[in-house]
Symmetry: C2
Subunit: 197 residues, 2 copies
Amino acid sequence: MIEFWFDFSSAYAYFAALEIEAVAARHGRSVRWRPYMLGTAFKVTGARGLSSTPLKKEYANHDWRRLARRKGVPFQLPEGHPLVALTATRAFYKVEALAPDQAGRFARSIFDRYYSTGLDTTRPDAVAALAAPLGLDPVEIAAGCAEAAIKDLARAASEEAVARGIFGSPWFFADGEPFWGHDRLPMLEDWLQRGGW
Amino acid sequence: MIEFWFDFSSAYAYFAALEIEAVAARHGRSVRWRPYMLGTAFKVTGARGLSSTPLKKEYANHDWRRLARRKGVPFQLPEGHPLVALTATRAFYKVEALAPDQAGRFARSIFDRYYSTGLDTTRPDAVAALAAPLGLDPVEIAAGCAEAAIKDLARAASEEAVARGIFGSPWFFADGEPFWGHDRLPMLEDWLQRGGW
């Protein structure tokens, strides 16, 4: 199993989301999708998001676009990016609670729509609508975003992330070994291939 | 030509320094070594060094050690790491002024000794001693660290870095295209191979 930790508003996590299942499958692993609120980690590290950091912002914007060209995938930043991912994160944990096997596909749908057609991830109904093709009830998912138990799950994920030293998005664990960043996927694969170094 | 921008106290720059000449050579390029003071960029981005950032510090320490194991290269942090790289940077620009063709080898020596035997890069005489095997006079290099013209060159490099959007170490430019981070060397090579995307 590979743990895949991310914030839904992280563009590098989007690129990782497009690849992680294939990486895992090549090595006989499954993926455990773990959305969390990156802002929780920023409170500990003192970092800010890429989109609000001078110099880094310009580089990241350029880098995302060339990555999308290289991989031949859609990439468009929604108006108001980065939207706060809390609603999408809660919807994910509601879906996972109801249908664990669909959670990864649901997360992937959120990424795909956010970075292509500008899905408004702050609207429970807009996010929950993506659960319908997975055979789930969008009304139930949207309602889940307001349930105390689901809010607790989302908060607990963010707290677990920081407790385990996670400070970025995307972030992977394979056999307890941490890998930070989309550009570390080749290193993660090398690690899996060799069984560690 | 590939521009290689770095701070001598950056451990990821050390790993890049071990590889960059071979990467460039594979694509018929030369390397222009450009030490600068990363702290100048931090003043603009508001970032701090890895070694003084909670969570990141622990990850980086773990990551450097596994990278060294994977590549089979020495890696030991000097006492007091990160030492302020200003003296080493000035010594570099003095060497470059006297013998441009030796500048890269001199920089590489500084990295090798800093991360293996704990070279004190704050001491002009200790740094300058590494110029002797290159046929240069260590006394002249050490004196250069105090020359106004050399100090100006070192300061100008840091100012140029920020003006060109550089905020990290290592950093590369190939044909004007920026690449940030040791883990982007494969992407840089892919770019050179394909002539851009």
